[in-house]
Symmetry: C2
Subunit: 363 residues, 2 copies
Amino acid sequence: MTSTPDDCTAALDLPGIREAVEQCLHEFLTAKEQTATRRRLPPTAARSLRSFLDSGGKRLRPLLCAIGWYAAGSPGPLPEAVVRTASALEFFHAFALIHDDVMDRSETRRGRPTVHRAFARQYADRTPDAAAEHLGTGAAILVGDLALCWSDELLHSADIPADRLRAVRRLSDLMREEAMYGQYLDLLAPTTPAHDIRVPLTVIRYKTAKYTCERPLHIGAALAGADPPVLRACTAYALPLGEAFQLRDDLLGVFGNPDRTGKSRLDDLREGKRTVLMTLAHQRANPAQLKTLHELVGRPGLTDHDADRIRTVILETGAHDEAERMIRHRHDRAQRALDRAPFPPDVVHALRHVARRATHRDL
Amino acid sequence: MTSTPDDCTAALDLPGIREAVEQCLHEFLTAKEQTATRRRLPPTAARSLRSFLDSGGKRLRPLLCAIGWYAAGSPGPLPEAVVRTASALEFFHAFALIHDDVMDRSETRRGRPTVHRAFARQYADRTPDAAAEHLGTGAAILVGDLALCWSDELLHSADIPADRLRAVRRLSDLMREEAMYGQYLDLLAPTTPAHDIRVPLTVIRYKTAKYTCERPLHIGAALAGADPPVLRACTAYALPLGEAFQLRDDLLGVFGNPDRTGKSRLDDLREGKRTVLMTLAHQRANPAQLKTLHELVGRPGLTDHDADRIRTVILETGAHDEAERMIRHRHDRAQRALDRAPFPPDVVHALRHVARRATHRDL
């Protein structure tokens, strides 16, 4: 792939980058499957991860990592080491999602049974249901653990010069901790007051803004030996973008079309997920609306009718409009950050495209 | 620490090595706790891990790693990089135990509540019991995940020359996979025929012989740039030792003194853990004994009286004696492997000591 400043629109070949990442992930998993079979070990984990990756996903983190590499001014086709590092981020993400689904007891992801549910179904023919559930959870924890180890293996087997690897490692360490602290705060959020907006704002800061957007860009930029102004410009763009992205995700979790999001739009409500959207609704609700929220949000057997009643509260309190306003505001901040970023024009163009896609999704 | 061949008994300062590892682990966790607090993130994970480490543990893997370093002929005091690598193995082990306890739904470990139970108790004052259980499990999964990441961080931040780091990484990748494949086979063992000895033998091969003994020695030896004969001699010693160690552990899990092992001697029986010992009992049982095993093993509400009935079957079938014979046989093989190992005398002396301690434990 070549990119020249005067060929802005076709410049960064995002589908090509995605394709290279897919190929890297699949070759790695094929090798793992073959080694396991040769050692008479179960190829289950590699197959389960392959099926998980095949079920979809935006590959946002690998794409941002590759864009970060170009943001630091690197020319020409994406080197193998950058593809491997970008792929490592996708394995880490698979780990995080598989464990998140266990913690949230989610039934579906990307329109398919979650990993723990798929294992539980598979074991159901040889053991009673309760035991199968339990084995399914255990197997999913292990597949997640292996995905984390394999993420690390992809990264440390990439051919990266020692000084740049040190910078990448430092950022990758931060990213992994930020993802996990974010998930921990998310997990405990239901035990905090429903109107306290600081909790969901901290969660999206760590779990999405930093983990999903800022650090992948940073890691790509560090691979290219980026200097501090480039890293700061990545941050100025990525933090508002990541927050907008998560706010959109939360809206889609309640108002989206399940056929297009691949997620039930009852799960977040049944789980009582403490999103910014729900917190805004709690803050603005009158006593009758608050009663509806307290009665219905977090109810495991929540019906479509119940969900409609909650949606009405979210709309009538203006929480929906306020969330849209927050998305717009953050999207605009991300775009403005690009106006003054020291990035090549093709990178600016690609990042503007990513920002629009991530925040204007009508899924 | 100095070691000379004619000062065999005092040669390898195992307590000193252990002390250096403890200090490394605690300094790392203190730094993590301080960073989290400074960033207004919960210091929970670091504190939970510290408490887990403080509750005991033999530090067998770090000790074997350090001994492996000396086995390759390295002189003098243990360098910081070896201490860090050895400590990384202990973090990895903490990760593995915390997740194993979640998968096995164990209540106690080292005489204290397991990590998921401790969290569940802690959350019980702010949320209903079922929710507290669920949060406890989620938090334990996350603390395990962080321990795995921190293990990796300790390793890659150690000051190891590039070529040796490559060798260490390759072995560490193998070790992590072997631990997880072993755990996966262990998890699914209850769905396989109770008399099939290949299943528990494969589990102890991967989960204990390779993960606990062979790879830590290999990793330490690789840090010192060991040549193939040294690595092969490590294997010849470590595999039978590891199997003997696990066979002893399984015996203690049923016949041990809980005050000294820190583990309930009902857990393995309640869980229906598919050990070599239990498989031997199933293989040798007459119809009446088999009926007792089928009725009682794996029963969640198993009483002390039930456990005594199972113990009687294990003793009367000769399964107990056969397990003791297997331990003796493997211990002797490990000792004989040392007779021809190209290790310095102080290393041979230390490894003989470890073999005796690991297999003759009367806990």
